[in-house]
Symmetry: C2
Subunit: 140 residues, 2 copies
DNA sequence: TCGTTTTCTTGAACGAGTCAAGAATATCGG
DNA sequence: CCGATATTCTTGACTCGTTCAAGAAAACGA
């Protein structure tokens, strides 16, 4: 019997059909935190051969909609994906090289922040992006 | 003598040349919080006539670099600009219509949040985006 | 295995933003 | 006030990430 984290089982549990592109995308993102779409396409092709870029875009959307992946897109960056979902963590982004790292939620559960004046909006999530310089860029 | 907030004086003080497009862009953004580039172009053309879109892009960048404007770009939205600068306030964005509203900093001064584990990054800003539903969309 | 539905392939298209070269204009020294 | 010089604006092409559309292929329940 398959382990609970078997990719195919994960897809089926989410109500998605199991296809080679989907398995490959899922594994590629699991293996590489904060990958951009291009890198996913490369990884998937290295894994299973010819795949259209459109298929990868479709799969990324399907997996994101199903809650298996999370899409992030810091200002000035292309879309990136990560497999760490459901824990409301945040990100630090390097201003010079664009590197991204995870940052645990600073204050409690999601939404981990409460707006002081919400202008009547019903808020369901607080997304925090920290900006700065990564270790490599800082030491240069 | 001009009042302290005279647009031309503001530009000069920032070390920028005073041109009609710059004055028009500055006023357009002051009058409309969270405008996107297209709306700025429209407003500027309504104000001073023919202006190339490139000029507006250039001006927006120059004013942003000079700290006279702030650029924000919630995921899934085009670039938006606001004249409220230097107070580290944040934004609420409506998931369905994209409306943006200001939110005062929830905790102290900028950076108003401290990452629990910064992965060695030197952090200089914490940007918070609240996601939810605006009053209009909520009541529908 | 068949039929239905979903997914993938192919190839074109889109839109926000950028690049580049030359014309126009702001500012400053005289 | 005027010319010199650096900056800014115009024009028009172009890039890049992403999406659209139509048909071929594949997954999966019966």
């Amino acid at each position: 019997m398959p382990v609970p984290t078997d990719p195919a089982a994960v897809l089926r549990t989410a109500g998605l059909r199991v296809t080679r592109p989907r398995l490959a995308v899922l594994e590629a993102v699991h293996a590489r935190p904060h990958v951009d779409t291009d890198a996913v396409i490369e990884a998937v092709r290295a894994d299973i051969g010819v795949v259209s870029h459109q298929a990868v875009y479709d799969v990324l959307r399907a997996l994101t909609d199903a809650g298996l992946l999370r899409r992030i897109q810091p200002t000035g960056s292309v879309a990136r994906y990560e497999a760490r979902v459901g824990d409301n963590h945040h990100h630090v982004v390097c201003r010079s090289c664009g590197a991204v790292a995870d940052v645990d939620c600073a204050v409690g559960e999601a939404p981990c922040l409460t707006a002081s004046d919400d202008s009547g909006f019903v808020i369901d999530e607080a997304e925090v992006t920290y900006w700065g310089s990564c270790p490599a860029c800082t030491s240069r």
